[in-house]
């Protein structure tokens, strides 16, 4: 601290000296503040590096770090090094994720083929913050004037789960193409899974048990008036929903056990008649993986209200979007698992068709 002289003669000198000192202090403080800022951003960068591995966040932090005005050479070097590493990591992760997303897309149909008298729409909502391939899938398999809609989920994540997802989807698809009823599709996949498990056990890999859940709905036109008969079977998935044209809600709840566990499973089938303007909604999971009862929320709270508000409007895309929005509403921060959504609206029959 500076000692004050206490005499008026020296007052001007004194003031000038204090001003100078204050300026120096201010400069020092400014320097300290910048260093603190740098160190804080370094922390952000480090967090981004070791934490979420979100390529965008890492890139952002790295970009910020390299634009810092740093007058300490050692610090500047450290920042530059870490920013370099961060950018490299971000690029690596981005490449990996790109590959994962490609694999994920290959598990879904490239398009939903048109089915006369129906409007189809689908959504695939990846789990938030996940960098692994999800195990969910959906499919629509057209046979004659009918279509079999499938949603499912393979327990677990990653490449191993994805290979099983592929097997599950194609087994169900093949059985559907051969004209099987929903319960038969599930029985077939169950057999296939148990067979695979037996092989694994014979190969000494007895801890690889993975089960599959699925819901299958076959929609077949009943006559020329546009009605469809829907037949549903399910194995450990939430019940498919019917939203009637007047907004009423129904769930189709045949009993059935998840696949890959039982030798002799039995799958019930439930039938319903879909009129013009009615909608069938299939969606995966959200029940097992999430900490809320999504099925309840899905049918009673958000979705029911949202769809009732759209009374009379037949738009499969819009309803699929509503279902997706509902998934986000139900589990905004905690979507632990992917969600697959498949929607079919019964449209007015095309008069040009015989």
């Amino acid at each position: 601290m500076r000692k004050r002289s206490g005499t008026n003669d020296h007052a001007d000198v004194e003031v000038a000296a204090i001003t100078r000192e204050l300026d120096e202090l201010r400069a020092e403080l400014e320097h300290a503040r910048r260093q603190l800022d740098v160190s804080r951003r370094l922390d952000d960068l480090a967090d981004a590096l070791v934490g979420e591995l979100d390529p965008d966040a890492v890139q952002e932090a790295a970009a910020q770090a390299v634009t810092l005005d740093i007058d300490d050479d050692r610090l500047a070097t450290r920042v530059a090094e870490r920013a370099d590493r961060a950018l490299a990591a971000a690029r690596r992760v981005a490449t990996q994720m790109d590959g994962m997303r490609q694999l994920e897309r290959s598990l879904l149909p490239a398009a939903l083929l048109p089915v006369p008298g129906l409007q189809l729409a689908s959504r695939y909502v990846p789990a938030k913050g996940s960098h692994e391939v999800g195990g969910d899938f959906y499919d629509a398999v057209r046979t004659g004037g009918a279509v079999t809609l499938i949603v499912g989920d393979v327990q677990g994540k990653g490449i191993a789960a994805a290979t099983l997802t592929s097997l599950a989807r194609h087994t169900l698809r093949t059985a559907a193409l051969m004209g099987g009823a929903p319960a038969e599709l599930l029985t077939q996949l169950n057999k296939s899974l148990l067979y695979g498990q037996e092989e694994q056990m014979a190969g000494g890999q007895d801890q690889l048990l993975r089960f599959v859940t699925a819901a299958v709905a076959r929609l077949a036109p009943t006559s020329d008036d546009g009605q469809f008969r829907v037949t549903v079977a399910r194995a450990g998935q939430p019940p498919p929903l019917i939203v009637r044209s007047d907004g009423r809600f129904e769930t189709l709840e045949p009993s059935g056990v998840l696949l890959g566990v039982c030798e002799q499973p039995s799958f019930d089938q439930v039938d319903a008649l879909l009129e013009v303007g009615d909608t069938l909604v299939l969606y995966t999971d959200g029940v097992i993986e999430q900490r809320v009862d999504a099925a309840k929320a899905m049918s009673e709270q958000h979705l029911g209200m949202l769809i009732r508000n759209r009374r009379g409007v037949v738009d499969a895309e819009a309803i699929a979007q509503l279902v997706e929005d509902t998934v986000h509403l139900v589990a905004p921060e905690d979507v632990r698992d992917d969600v697959a959504i498949l929607v079919a609206c019964v449209t007015r029959p095309d008069p040009s068709r015989g």
């Binding site: 677990g156 048990l209 939430p238 566990v261 499973p265 097992i288």
Partner: protein, 111 residues
């Protein structure tokens, strides 16, 4: 975050020499904790006789890895010629067993 609380699982074993063994499972049975149940049950099954029962009354979260663990333990018990049953289930567990169609397979009702 309360990450520690989020991945807690408590296992208590009640071993009754003539009756078999009861494992009381409490907390979260999920991706993180499921392996503990599988390995604990595996170790017990080597020594136990008769039946294996799981008390899941204190399980307040169950995900698909947890469901898988229940099936793995059940399969191992049956494979060794022992009876298996979940003797008590919390609402969460009951809801998920119903949804997955596993109620009749994993609980005593029809086993």
């Amino acid at each position: 975050m309360h990450a520690e609380e989020l991945h807690r699982l408590d296992l208590d074993v009640i071993d009754e020499p003539d009756e078999g063994v009861t494992i009381s499972v409490q907390g979260e049975l999920d991706t993180t904790t499921a392996p503990h149940l599988i390995s604990a049950a595996h170790d017990l099954l080597d020594k136990a006789r008769g039946s294996v029962e799981l008390d899941c009354g204190g399980v307040w979260f169950l995900d698909s890895a947890g469901v898988r663990a229940l099936i793995v333990v059940r399969n191992e018990a049956l494979g060794m010629g022992m009876a298996f049953a979940i003797v008590r289930a919390s609402d969460t567990v009951r809801r998920i067993l119903d949804m997955t169609g596993l109620t009749s397979i994993l609980t005593r009702s029809t086993n």
